[in-house]
Amino acid sequence: MRVIEAGLTLVVVQLAGLLLLAYRDRRSVYLPDQLAALMTMLMGFAFAMLWELVAFILDWVASTDLQPSNMDTMLNLLACDVAAVLGAVLATSVYCRALSTKRQMRLGALAVWLSDGPSRMLDEHGFAITLTCALLVTVAVAELWFAGRPVPGFPIG
């Protein structure tokens, strides 16, 4: 399982890194290579953390058995974070050294197309999206708090 998680993080981070660098060039955004690599790593770290958060919530709410112990969780995170660092370095190296300008531009077009939708949505409905996110987080936290505890008016289980 740990290997799968780390492998998936590696792939996701490489894709994210390539798209970020291509977006930068296509949109002429100020983002030096080092900062782009760092941001790609941060994306990988966040991906790994969100994976573990989903596993944790499923364990508590749906009684799955995805996180047997704290050590297992921390080692999963560590493996994914190592993969994120490797993925970010690889993505930056591949983009800067191996991709032709034509391919960079084509990738940039894809990145712009992918980011345009969410970007426009954030511009137009930023407040609604923030409220939705806040609501989702509140529901998740309430689910965790009441897992195994009596909810007023409802039987346990």
């Binding site: 030096p32 941001m39 966040a46 112990s69 969780t73 995170l77 370095v89 970007s119 965790l144 195994g148």
Partner: protein, 425 residues
């Protein structure tokens, strides 16, 4: 004169003085450390020859004041969820400051940097800082048995709280940037950001390969050391008798105190706390039952006891913990089925050279001042755990399970045991 920042510093100095007067030197030292750290923005201003904006300094001093005051007064140990307030606040302040510095850099040097990208970068940075904090705790626990990560749920809820803090901080930072910072202050923030980034950026450009190699070496050395310190677990003491079924009635029956103070009272055999250490300074106690017998190996056994974890007075701490030990080789090397009423967790631990390695845990809600029956069954390398007649979990591949059996508790108030039995197949 930045009154708010200096008032906060004065508060830290006052706290250090009060702690000295009360004879709490470690608390005074922590407050003094906080005072020193809180002066960093002044140092930064002097070194970079750029004014640090007033609100940035205030945010930094607030963050440091909160952390070091909490440490000095042991608030993390006195209030159960205090860390869920302080740590997200610190992550939020980190996010806030990094977003402002990045926006300031953009404005000061006319860089094209979309606000969405700044928000994403600051949010991701905050989430990573929160995760990095957990790594520091994990390593402190692994190497120093600091007991900072109380359970998997504690770690994960810390991460959730940190992420929520980061998210709120991004919104606030972007919203307040144009109103709380004047145009001149934004330029100053940008210059400070440039000064801070210049060193690392220059180092990476000049010696990127070397920096990577050093990091890799540190990582491999840490991982190697982490494995090495767990080697060499002691053997089962020679000339001990084979296992036998028994009902252990208390200290009048054969027992050996391996650690801590144990006594009999009307509640049973209790791990007592006569020294009343500072919150967070409690030491575990281990009482070996039937010390001449070796349990485990080829012979399966079932071990159970009723456990009562007394809720301590508010001013003394919050810990309520107790458990059944098996595979005891000495006071530092054994397995433990632990029920923690504070953190609602039933957990199988392996203590190696006094350092806890968690093997398996399950959410089990219990409270202080309640009796519960803990039960474990060990069959070779297979361990089953249960509480109050309900199975909780089973684990395979548990090595070195043979050894003594006993009762374990680190307490603030008292943890008591009754009806302790062991049944050998």
């Amino acid at each position: 004169m930045r009154v708010e920042a200096w008032l906060l510093r004065l508060g830290l100095a006052g706290l250090a003085a009060i702690q000295v007067l009360q004879g709490n030197t470690s608390g005074a030292l922590v407050a003094a450390e906080g005072l020193v750290v809180s002066v960093l923005p002044r140092l930064l201003e002097r070194l970079s020859k750029t004014p640090v904006p007033r609100s940035i300094e205030a945010l930094f001093v607030v963050g440091m004041g909160l952390q070091f005051t909490s440490e000095s007064l042991k608030l993390f140990e006195l209030f159960t969820y205090w860390d869920k307030i302080v740590h997200p606040t610190l992550v939020a302040l980190t996010v806030w400051l990094s977003a402002w510095l990045l926006l300031g850099y953009r404005d000061a040097f006319g860089k094209r940097l979309p606000i969405h990208l700044v928000a994403a970068f600051a949010l991701l940075l905050g989430m990573t800082v929160g995760a990095a904090w957990e790594y520091v705790e994990f390593l402190s626990d692994w190497f120093g048995d600091a007991n900072l990560q109380k359970s998997n749920a504690d770690t994960m809820t810390d991460l959730i709280a940190n992420d929520i803090g980061a998210f709120i901080a991004v919104l606030l930072a972007l919203r307040l940037y144009p109103t709380w910072l004047s145009r001149a202050q934004r330029v100053d923030a940008g210059r400070v950001a440039q000064w801070l980034a210049h060193g690392p950026s220059h180092l990476l450009e000049q010696h990127g390969g070397l920096a990577g190699a050093v990091l890799l070496t540190v990582f491999i050395a840490t991982a190697g050391t982490a494995r090495a310190i767990d080697q060499g677990a002691p053997e089962v003491a020679a000339a001990q008798q084979p296992a036998r079924s028994l009902t252990w009635r208390g200290m009048s029956d054969p027992a050996q105190v391996l650690a801590g103070d144990w006594l009999e009272d009307e509640r049973g055999t209790c791990r007592d706390n006569p020294e009343h250490p500072k919150p967070g300074g409690e030491k575990p106690g281990l009482l070996q039952v039937a010390p001449v017998n070796v349990y485990g190996g080829d012979q399966a056994f079932t071990f159970e006891s009723r456990v009562f974890e007394e809720r301590p007075p508010r001013s003394e701490g919050t810990q309520m913990d107790g458990g059944l030990a098996f595979g005891i080789r000495d006071k530092d090397d054994f397995y433990l089925l632990e029920q923690d009423a504070l953190h609602d967790v039933l957990r199988l631990d392996h203590f190696i050279h006094g350092r806890r390695r968690d093997v398996r845990e399950e959410l089990v809600r219990t409270h202080g001042n309640e009796w519960h029956t803990l039960r474990l069954r060990v069959s070779g390398s297979h361990v089953e755990a249960g509480i109050d007649g309900q199975p909780a979990f089973a684990v395979d591949g548990v090595s070195d399970t043979s050894g003594g059996i006993g009762l374990w508790a680190p307490v603030v108030a008292a943890t008591c045991f009754q009806d302790t039995r062991v049944q050998v197949d």
